[in-house]
Symmetry: C2
Subunit: 212 residues, 2 copies
Amino acid sequence: MSMIDLKTKPTKGPARSREDILQAALEEFAERGFDGATVRGIAARIDLTHGMIRYHYDNKEQLWFAAVDHLFERQFEYLKFTPEEDLEFPRGTRERFAKFLRRYVHYCAKYPEHARILMQETVSPTPRMRKALKQNLREPHQTTVEEIRMLQETGVLKADAPPASIMYMISGACQNLFALAPEVKVTLDYNALSRKAIEDHADLIVSTFVPD
Amino acid sequence: MSMIDLKTKPTKGPARSREDILQAALEEFAERGFDGATVRGIAARIDLTHGMIRYHYDNKEQLWFAAVDHLFERQFEYLKFTPEEDLEFPRGTRERFAKFLRRYVHYCAKYPEHARILMQETVSPTPRMRKALKQNLREPHQTTVEEIRMLQETGVLKADAPPASIMYMISGACQNLFALAPEVKVTLDYNALSRKAIEDHADLIVSTFVPD
DNA sequence: TAAAAAATTATCCAATTGGATAATAATGTG
DNA sequence: CACATTATTATCCAATTGGATAATTTTTTA
């Protein structure tokens, strides 16, 4: 097992970057679940042999952890506020909340596999999922709850509802349209991933959860 | 091995075990996805041999269809308004809407596998999922859109948002807390399936989406 | 009760899977 | 250049899988 050079060097040979492998893995795991996903299937998505993937990752489970870590890291980068934004939008204000919600809606539309991956294994959570959740989600979730409490105190959010309830209500409201985009297309002939649909949804989310 | 008496119920044929098999199938499919689920695993959940399941259902795919049909049928029964209720709560009123939302929240808490099953295969929808959606979801979804349009006209829902956007926002808001209940437990130590949590969520949903 | 039908078990099989290893090619490095 | 390291391919294997079939038991029916 050797280190993977993360250089996204587009060479001729079948050298794929770490990111390519992890993205292919995310798609396969999102489509077929951990058990249904195959190492060969992941390899085929980027024209690799399954031996190559086992060369980079010891086993399927370790590949899954790497992919999920990558997923959360990417989300964190996408959603985080810069120090300047932190100054312009102080915590607990409705302006910051609105900005965050718009950003989150765009994230959900860009990476719909996120919601799918998480939902797949939370059923009767395996030790694998439990570990990934604790490692990646526990701390950010708890700080999010803190922010929700602040918004409840400043009157932006309803004070009498459990923060967990508010949190999952809002995230579900943001995610669902995009995570189920193919269903929406089939049943309602509505293209949820179009630019306009995304903007409309962001507007709806903000006007629903951040009333003036 | 215990034999399942298929004749306990007055209906002829394998009616008695039908529900057991389908429920076991739903759980297995929800936990592991279509590819990851195994006929032997489904059989083991109710102490059957995998041969028995193949005796009742030609193949894995047909079993999946039967299970999903069962799922939608059960949902329809759970959510439908009786003729008396139709009189008491006319379509397009906020009272009917609120009643429906409460009922839907309770359905989501009772059958969290519903959301999971649907999310699993909508990724790049297989012909299988496409067929199931068209057969079970297309028509009810379109009548739901009609109801949403009425609620937009009567001013209960925002008039400037696409009905599809409203619909998936609300269903996501209702489902998410329960579909991800194990995640909520791990990350926030909140038991989303407790009676009080369910009631709190229903209250929050109604007060959020049916403002006075 | 005896024959027919239905239910159930017990095997069998080819295909696929994750994992392992050895052989080989490419790349760097002195 | 030689040569060690790294990347890549090609096989191999045991386990599991969906599916098939034959054998056996139970239930229905005539």
